[in-house]
């Protein structure tokens, strides 16, 4: 039997996958209802439809977050409230109805993303259902056609639906369709000053600004236009994609985990309620001596700590937590009625990161916790992941392989290991330079990430070498999936200046027979990879 926590995670993933499949049935139905709502002749015909739609939305609002589809749940909640208000008024607001219907029909876009799930059964199906989760739509405003095309193409290779526009009028026409998820504007475009000045930090669509000048004033203008990213020319496309990914992962990510330590249970539960309503996962610990158990079990990303508790003061507890290297990254926020600044400072000097003073407004609480959590997660991702690809680093993916192989031996389930290497990569670097080579690596990383399941682990093993482990997956299934990815990859067009070129990769796949060690499997996968290279490259070999 596997480690119980991991086993639970797997079962939760399985349920999440089932939920995702259910969404694939329910959301088109909801979309059809929305269409009927739009076509309804009068209010009397609209109201019963609206009632049915609202019931669906209510269910989604209550369930999607539990399965990791937080963005879907939030949007459903927002629409539910709007629909509820119209039902209450006995009348739909005609001016808002088209947007309401469009939002309903776009819910499935949110369902493709996130979700903790992959599945274990049936496997082949899970792979096939996993089309492109990264279907975010990006509009680019750029006057220089070479730059515009290259950004468009590269982002397409990275798995986005990117579209380049040379004129502001074309861009506006596209934006009027309200089907764009993020916007990239070159601030050197002749229409950019006007466009940017017209936006505020409240304007809905996420914005990235690219600019030829890196000075303070340009960056300030970008911030005031609501930009969430600023990139200087010459453009480094992987960092542009990094910014996009950061943006979308913040939008779609798993809820933040917050631990509240307070002996006042009522108050702690109240805080917990407020934070939960903002889709954070919260646990309350009211016995300071048990805090380490909570830390280990729940792995919070932010800790809210009461300063005055009977057996142990907040700062003492913070110091105990800081004894353990594992928790160094977790921000500690004190909750206290203490308004004396010098005593607050003393507490912070001992350990801890921030102070919020009771009574605290709901908004202040949410903001303090959210900003700390967001920062902590960014840092933690930056430290654990390969900076170019966002994949696991060498040591971490190896560890993951050992872990999965050990589990496969215990559970007697097939598990496959894949080693993969880009063909003639040195030539790419030599001919086109490292930045272009980086684009190739990143495109492959994204492709793999999109096509593999969430339960699979994927890492950058070396320069142009990748390693993946696919639990509950036979060698044949793994070979089939990697072969599809190989074919897709060879079709990607890369651009270096005016030149275009294509790349390929070779891969070796091995299925565990339930006896080999992780080291042996890695060796076998490497041999299969060698055979693929030796046999003419651009192919996937299964170890025999």
């Amino acid at each position: 039997m596997a480690d119980p926590a991991a086993e639970l995670q797997r079962q939760l993933q399985l349920l999440a996958e089932q939920f995702r499949q259910r969404l694939q049935r329910d959301l088109p139905e909801l979309s059809a209802q929305a269409e009927a709502l739009g076509k309804a002749a009068n209010e009397a015909a609209r109201q019963p439809l609206l009632l049915a739609i609202r019931q669906q939305l209510h269910k989604l609002a209550g369930s999607a977050g539990t399965f990791g589809f937080a963005a879907l749940g939030e949007q459903a909640r927002r629409l539910e409230q709007q629909g509820g208000a119209w039902l209450y008024a006995g009348q739909c607001d005609g001016s808002q109805l088209p947007a309401f219907i469009a939002d309903l029909q776009r819910l499935s876009a949110l369902a493709g993303n996130a979700g903790p799930g992959g599945s274990s059964e049936p496997l082949a199906l899970a792979f096939e259902n996993r089309r492109t989760p990264l279907d975010q739509r990006i509009a680019i405003l750029e006057e220089d056609p070479v730059q515009g095309q290259s950004v468009e193409l590269t982002l397409q290779n990275f798995g986005y639906q990117a579209r380049w526009y040379a004129s502001a009028a074309e861009l506006s026409a596209r934006l009027a369709q309200q089907d764009v998820d993020a916007l990239i504007i070159d601030s050197d475009h002749s229409a950019a000053p006007e466009l940017l000045a017209g936006r505020t930090s409240q304007s809905g669509l996420p914005l990235l600004v690219i600019s030829s000048s890196n000075d303070f004033a340009s960056q300030l203008r970008a911030v005031r236009a609501g930009a969430v990213g600023f990139l200087c020319k010459p453009l480094n496309l992987p960092s542009l994609e990094n910014a996009l990914q950061r943006l979308f992962s913040l939008q779609q990510g798993q809820p933040y985990r917050v631990l509240i330590v307070d002996d006042d249970l009522e108050l702690a539960n109240r805080y917990a309620l407020v934070l939960r309503q903002h889709h954070m996962h919260v646990q309350v610990c009211h016995e300071p001596s048990t805090v380490l158990e909570y830390m280990a079990r729940f792995a919070p990303e932010v800790l809210l700590l009461d300063v005055q508790m009977p057996d142990c003061e907040g700062p003492e507890l913070a110091q105990i937590i800081r004894f353990n290297d594992d928790w160094l990254r977790v921000p500690i926020i004190y909750l206290s009625a203490e308004t004396d600044l010098s005593r607050q400072m003393q507490a912070l000097l001992r350990a801890g990161d921030d102070f919020v003073t009771k009574p605290i407004s709901d908004n202040a609480l949410i903001t303090s916790v959210f900003s700390r959590a967001q920062r902590a997660r960014q840092l933690s991702n930056a430290l654990a992941r390969d900076s170019l690809t966002g994949l696991l680093k060498h040591a971490d993916i190896k560890e993951q392989v050992s872990y999965e192989v050990a589990r496969a031996i215990r559970s007697r389930r097939p598990t496959s290991v894949v080693m993969l290497d880009i063909d003639h990569f040195k030539q790419v670097n030599d001919q086109h330079g490292h930045p272009i080579g980086d684009n190739v690596i990143r495109a492959l990383a994204n492709l793999l990430r999109q096509r593999l399941r969430k339960i699979d682990s994927l890492g950058r093993y070396g320069g142009e070498e990748f390693l993946a482990v696919l639990p509950d997956c036979s060698g044949e299934q793994a070979q089939k999936v990697i072969e599809e990815i190989r074919q897709h990859f060879t079709r990607l067009t890369f651009q270096a200046g005016q030149q275009q070129f294509h790349c390929s990769f070779s891969a070796g796949v091995v299925q565990s027979n339930g006896e080999q060690s992780a080291g042996e499997l890695l060796h076998l996968a490497d041999q299969a990879l060698y055979a693929a290279k030796h046999g003419g490259r651009n192919q996937v070999r299964l170890a025999v």
Partner: protein
């Protein structure tokens, strides 16, 4: 001293039913009986003899509050705490649910990793 072992969960959404059952059984070590409707809960409650009842608020047919008022004729809710689960939480609603006899309102979407702890904490406030 009463012990928390059996939980009756009433929820019309099968996905939520499954995830709650898994979370409560695996993380809490409880025995869980899931019912798809208020009526099913009324039929099952005496045979199952739960220590705790989790009730979804919005269900087709008999909703959570209606189910609770009928359940009160069958079980002693002083001893068997009832918690509502709902996605809509306005303070006045919580108050209203309390007046009906519910001990707590668990906000949806709930976190499967913490559901068992939440239930235990409500239980210990009643029986602690």
């Amino acid at each position: 001293m009463a012990e928390l072992k059996r939980i009756l969960h009433v929820e019309d959404d099968r996905s939520i039913q499954a995830v709650a059952k898994l979370a409560l059984e695996t993380l809490g070590g409880f025995e869980v009986l899931s019912c798809l409707s208020g009526q099913e809960a009324l039929d099952q409650v005496q045979g199952f003899n739960p220590d705790f009842i989790l009730l979804d608020v919005m269900m087709p047919g008999m909703d959570g509050p209606a189910t609770l008022s009928k359940l009160r004729e069958l079980v002693d809710i002083e001893q068997v705490p009832v918690a509502f689960m709902t996605a809509k939480v306005q303070p006045q609603e919580i108050e209203q649910y309390r007046q009906l006899g519910a001990r707590e309102v668990i906000v949806k979407p709930f976190d499967p990793m913490t559901l068992a702890a939440q239930v235990r904490s409500i239980w210990s406030r009643v029986h602690g």
